[in-house]
């Protein structure tokens, strides 16, 4: 006979106010088999609630507990810790989710009560069949992998390395820096982006604890928290960074000219190039797609002129393996393609551009040295229309969410434009101005008051060309007037979307994404810098659109989580995993093929399949595939499931 206690939480009125009465739940629980005590309490998760639980476990000598309360994702751990300190094995406790999956979703108190009793009843069955388990101890590899070296990845890597641990930093582009390196000035202070960014980039290059792979991507990641193995695909650079002096002779003789993607195609570069002067690593790189040909060698001029002999054509792609204990995802965002917004004339009219394009124009080190010139005829535009929410907040056709950074960067753009072209006039069409950051509202007011930026609350219907100018038709919903502006240039504040690399990694790593495709955090409020998958942490725009201060804060948050993980002597692995009854195993090996983690192995000598405990993630796929019923799962056996189903569906008791 087990001695089970059922503790039902009122959760204030969240449960108590939505059932017929707490007494009905307690009375029903008291009659359940092997239940020796049933109690209710206003907040089980409170200190007194937990103390009550501990006291009752000791008083009744309980060897099984059901807490009927909120989702197990919230407090299962709380109650298991309490159970352990009362001397009961924590795996003998389970949570009946009667709030999220019952009282919050059913307004009829009678039906909610009936359903809550069934949920409690089936959880009692699970506990009746549960046995004592102990977490498996696993070692920790104290090295971190940071994927993406924009400002978020850089900050996370620097913080972790300052904590004394090694960091493997992987960046797909030739230089680190990400989008922030492309920006001209930053809101709300108008700091020059490069000036505040490059010290950090240089620090990465000099830091002995950071191993940087540029021109590289993670192509495989196996293992589990504390013990990952990463395969990194290192594209050949053809230039040895240890020999390259960045003299630029190679670039000067290269006959190939292609658009420079760092400048959004506003300038050109050679096939052998350095993306921008402050690039880290400060090494020339050979773009094999643009090069006239390496195999067979067509040109070979760059090698001829390279005095330090840094160039070698016979390099091949390499796969490097690294062992790490934690992974930070900092793969950033892409701008939503302008092609998607036909009504604003992109593609038809060269003077319709996006924000990043303008950033490069405004940048002092950019292709126009900070002068604003319109793309079609390189004249200085005298009237510029900025259109906000281009692709954002349009659930029917584009992105449903607010891209968060556009209100402020458009304000900055309008302001910087006015600083560069004092006799020009910036206009902004907006839906709402969201200026909720520190000093952001003041920045927006400054744009209106000091720089004369004219704001229209409304959307633009269409943009068309007339007499060499862009006619912008919109409405000002505050005055109810139609607005028609003959503009020289139109700048679209495109929505931010998850980067292609974010999408690829989520697919590869099987990490959850939210409805908008950004990486899903473990809890939207309380666990914002980690994934629900253990060992993965989130930084920057991979998790959702955010500005630089927020990206940096989140990156430091993720880094501190990694440091906390590395500070542990060993990690614990959930013991609710698969096991084999070797007497029943017929040695068919189906389970070996089914397991996605290589946790199922066949013991040739004994002729039976086994489970490698620390590799098993407890999904249960092998149990269902086992034809002889030899495999089962600790505390989720088929016998437990059978009785849970029976009480969940049946009226009568077991």
């Amino acid at each position: 006979m087990r001695r089970i206690g059922v503790f039902t939480c009122h959760c204030g009125l969240n449960i108590a106010g939505r059932v017929t009465s707490m007494k009905d739940l307690v009375d029903a629980a008291a009659k359940m088999p092997e239940v020796v005590t049933a109690q209710d309490y206003v907040y089980m998760c409170s200190d007194p609630g937990q103390a009550m639980l501990e006291e009752q476990i000791k008083k009744h000598g309980l060897d099984g507990v059901v807490v009927a309360c909120c989702s197990p994702n919230l407090h299962l751990n709380t109650f298991r810790i309490a159970a352990r300190s009362a001397g009961m094995n924590p795996y003998l406790l389970n949570v009946a989710n009667i709030r999220e999956q019952c009282t919050w979703v059913h307004s009829d108190p009678v039906k909610a009560t009936q359903k809550a009793i069934k949920i409690i009843r089936s959880t009692v069955e699970r506990v009746r069949g549960s046995i004592e388990l102990n977490p498996l101890k696993i070692p920790v590899t104290r090295r971190a992998l940071v994927i993406g070296a924009g400002i978020a990845g850089i900050q996370a890597a620097l913080d972790i390395s300052q904590g004394g641990y090694e960091v493997v930093l992987v960046e797909r582009n030739p230089s680190i820096g990400g989008h922030m390196a492309q920006l001209s000035e930053t809101f709300p202070t108008l700091d020059c982006s490069q000036c505040i960014m490059t010290p950090k980039m240089v620090e990465v290059a000099r830091n002995k604890n950071i191993k940087l792979y540029n021109n590289a991507e993670v192509c495989e990641l196996t293992g589990f928290v504390g013990n990952f193995k990463a395969k990194i695909k290192q594209k050949p650079q053809y230039v040895d960074p240890s020999k390259c002096t960045s003299c630029g002779e190679c670039s000067a003789v290269c006959p190939v000219v292609v658009p420079n993607e760092f400048d959004m195609g506003l300038s050109s570069r050679k096939a052998i190039y350095i993306p921008f002067p402050q690039a880290v690593p400060s090494t020339y790189t050979l773009d094999e797609d643009a090069c006239l040909g390496l195999v067979p060698l067509i040109c070979g001029k760059c090698k001829e002129v390279c005095t330090p002999q840094a160039i070698s054509y016979d390099l091949e792609q390499e796969i490097v393996e690294e062992e790490v204990g934690a992974v930070v995802l900092a793969t950033g965002f892409d701008l939503y393609p302008m092609e998607e917004l036909g009504e604003y004339g992109y593609g038809q009219f060269p003077d319709v551009i996006d924000g990043l394009y303008l950033e490069r124009m405004l940048s002092a080190s950019g292709p126009t040295h900070g002068e604003v010139r319109r793309p079609s005829d390189h004249t200085v535009p005298k009237e510029v229309v900025f259109i906000q929410c281009a692709g954002s907040r349009e659930p029917d056709r584009h992105k449903p969410y607010c891209s968060k950074i556009c209100c402020m960067y458009t304000t900055k753009h309008a302001m910087l434009y006015k600083h560069r072209v004092p006799d020009g006039q910036p206009y902004v069409f907006y839906i709402d101005i969201r200026a909720a950051g520190k000093d952001y509202e003041e920045f927006y007011q400054r744009a209106i008051e000091e720089d004369g930026v004219q704001y229209f609350r409304g959307k633009v219907g269409k943009v068309y060309e007339e007499n060499g100018r862009l006619m912008v038709h919109g409405t000002d919903t505050l005055t109810g007037r139609k607005v028609e502006i003959a503009a020289d240039m139109v700048v679209l504040a495109m929505a931010a979307e998850p980067s292609k690399e974010t999408e690829r990694l989520l697919q590869m790593l099987k990490i959850g994404s939210g409805s908008s495709g950004f990486v899903q955090e473990a809890h939207p409020k309380l666990r914002p810098v980690e994934s629900i998958t253990q060992g993965f942490f989130l930084a920057g725009c991979a998790q959702g659109p955010k500005d630089i201060p927020e990206s940096v804060a989140q990156a430091s948050g993720a880094a501190s989580k990694v440091l906390a993980l590395f500070a542990q002597e060993e990690l614990f692995h959930d013991p609710e995993i698969a096991y084999v009854d070797e007497d029943l195993c017929i040695g068919c090996r189906i389970c070996v093929g089914v397991c996605p983690y290589s946790a199922r192995v066949f013991d040739e000598e004994a002729g039976v399949a086994r489970v490698q405990d620390v590799l098993c993630e407890g999904c249960g796929a092998c149990i269902v595939s086992c034809p002889s019923g030899a495999t089962s799962q600790y505390n989720t056996t088929d016998a437990q499931v059978a009785s849970m189903i029976k009480v969940a569906m049946g009226e009568a008791d077991v």
């Binding site: 989702s71 999956q101 307004s107 409805s515 569906m649």
Partner: protein, 143 residues
């Protein structure tokens, strides 16, 4: 009016989390289902489904992660294969195959969980109670 009973087998990572989100967002739906959460939909054994029907379920819902999103990489594909086979078997047993439903519902799709529960309840209600072939003792374990 006939009130159907639905057994819902949900994976922890996606559909159960989606059901939690429906709760957190205070959405309302039919109380016809009782949820049983597994680590993965691939832990749902076809036997479990038959046990549910034997023991009083008029409909069974399996909820897993969207294809490509399975927390355990490919668990939901295994579920899909088993589901198709089981539907065949249900036909052979003379049960309406619509009584078994598989849905991919992510952790962000609280609204979809609500829609599925309401739709499925209406569908089962229009089918009426499941005609069981034998009374049995229904503990399922001898199956």
């Amino acid at each position: 009016m006939f009130e159907p009973q639905i057994m819902c087998f949900l994976c922890k990572w996606c559909t159960s989390a989606g059901a939690d989100l429906a709760g957190t967002s205070r959405m309302e739906y039919s109380p016809s289902g009782v949820n049983l959460t597994f680590m993965c939909s691939s832990r749902v054994d076809p036997q479990h489904i038959l046990w549910a029907f034997e023991n009083g379920a008029d409909g069974v819902l399996i909820g897993g992660c969207h294809p490509g999103d399975c927390h355990y990489q490919t668990g939901n594909y295994k579920t899909l294969a088993r589901f198709v086979l089981l539907k065949n078997m249900m036909r052979q047993m003379g049960w309406e195959e619509e009584r078994l439903r598989l849905e991919w519902i992510s952790a962000a799709e609280g609204r979809k969980f609500v829609q599925v529960m309401n739709e499925f309840t209406d569908q089962i209600r229009s089918l009426g109670p499941l005609a069981r072939h034998h009374s049995g003792d229904g503990n399922g374990k001898e199956d």
